[in-house]
């Protein structure tokens, strides 16, 4: 017993260090997959409060740019109104056809905190459980896809952005419809890549890359970016496609959260698919 105490005395410093280190590291490596204690993230109420105050101060710096964006989006939406179309084309009404049941609804939100230069980037938005959003909902802005809701508290939520290791949103090249999973290499906040497109598919440079809507997180056809470069992967019959994001993650202010009203139906159907299908992991 005395030896044991002597041992603890002698290695006290290292033991304290090791213990705290284990706590910190286990938190870091489990959090990004299974968030548990909300207090320690920006979804916690005090922390979110501080960041809201900060955002209240800094949001005005981008006011001009934000206004321009919203104006641009208004213009685009106005063009889609029935009275501004000459003849209704079926292609125009993909998401929200009033003749049918509403499939997706959108909740606007303001970004109060975001990063773009980490290996995994998160952003905090100012709506939460009380507004009806939940883990796994999609998030996009007027410029393109942003990410997926990762953590929710009563009034705030943390979004895992496209600039993350395991984001794996299913996307497709609009022309030709070849599809794959969106990845991010960690280097450049402007560019990502698509994996899993066979290299016998024809892909044109600068063609639009949009969401495929397969997992029900995003509606089909939300812009992700454009194909900037394609190359061969050595030893694999796949294209190495570089996408230039249409979203600028460095100056993001207003986003929309997607709620899929038929998610449960889709999920229960897709669960019946035998394994080995490429489901995106969150």
């Amino acid at each position: 017993m005395r030896n044991l105490i002597a041992f603890f005395q002698r290695f006290r410093i290292f033991l304290v260090f090791a213990l705290l280190q284990v706590v910190a590291l286990s938190m870091y490596f489990t959090y990004s997959d299974f968030p548990r204690i909300q207090m320690l993230t920006t979804a916690g109420s005090i922390n979110a409060e501080i960041l809201t105050i900060r955002n209240d101060v800094t949001k005005h710096f981008n006011l001009e740019e934000t206004n321009k964006q919203l104006q641009w989006e208004n213009k685009r939406l106005r063009e889609k109104l029935k009275n501004s179309l000459y003849k209704e084309d079926k292609g125009f009404i993909t998401v929200d056809d009033t003749l049918f049941r509403q499939n997706y609804s959108y909740i606007p939100a303001t970004v109060i905190n975001s990063t773009f230069d980490k290996r995994d980037n998160y952003m905090t938005i100012d709506i939460g459980r009380n507004h009806g959003i939940k883990r796994g909902d999609g998030v996009f802005s007027s410029r393109g896809v942003v990410g997926i809701v990762h953590l929710v508290s009563d009034n705030y939520a943390v979004v895992k952005t496209v600039l993350s290791k395991n984001i794996n949103i299913d996307v497709m090249v609009e022309k030709g419809g070849s599809f794959g999973l969106l990845k991010w290499s960690g280097l450049d906040a402007k560019r990502g890549s698509i994996s899993g497109i066979s290299n016998d598919m024809r892909i044109k440079k600068w063609s639009r890359v949009v969401t495929r809507g397969g997992s029900g997180i995003f509606p089909r056809g939300i812009l992700v970016g454009r194909v900037e470069k394609k190359g061969y992967i050595e030893g694999k019959p796949l294209w190495d496609i570089t996408v230039r994001f249409s979203e600028d993650f460095r100056s993001i202010q207003h986003v929309y959260v997607v709620k899929n009203l038929m998610q449960e139906e889709l999920d229960s159907l897709q669960q019946q698919i035998p394994e080995d299908s490429e489901e995106p992991e969150l």
Binding site: R12, I13, V16, F17, L20, Q21, V23, A24, L25, S26, M27, Y28, Y31, S32, M39, L40, T41, T42, G44, N47, I50, L51, R54, T58, N113, T115, D117, K118, R119, Y122, T124, V158, S185, G186, L187, R250
Partner: protein, 172 residues
Amino acid sequence: MGGIILHSVRFILFVLFQVLVLNHLEIGWGVYPMLYPLFILLLPFEMATVPLLLVAFAMGLCIDALSNTFGLHASSALIFAYFRPVIFKLFAPRDGYENTEESNIYTMGTRWFIYAFGLLLLIHHTWFFLIEIFKLNEILLLLRKIGLSVPFSFLLSLFVQFIFSSKKKSER
């Protein structure tokens, strides 16, 4: 007593500066400046290692909570605090640290500061980006992030001391 208040105020200021200003700088090329290691360096000499570790851990957690890093800063701050006594012993001046109360650049000299703080900062940043990236095949990204962020953090720490430490001296 005055020391405790001084360091508590510093604690809050360093956390807020890191979270509200540094985390939002848009420098690019993977540069991520971190200033809070300077706080751990400036803690008093006579502080034992165990309380030092606890303070560093608390600081890391506060920054983590406000920047969605879930323990990454806490882990790196611990590394910094753990190595602080080791490095201090390594670069100890001939007559020891007896009559110095704080290890800033004025009391310890530029040379000591560059070696000791530079080395500690390198250890800290290496650990931080190593844990953050955690993939061997992205070693180039890792090296670039370390190589660019360390000088940046170091210069920033120097700058902060030039502004604040000298002023404090003249007040006394």
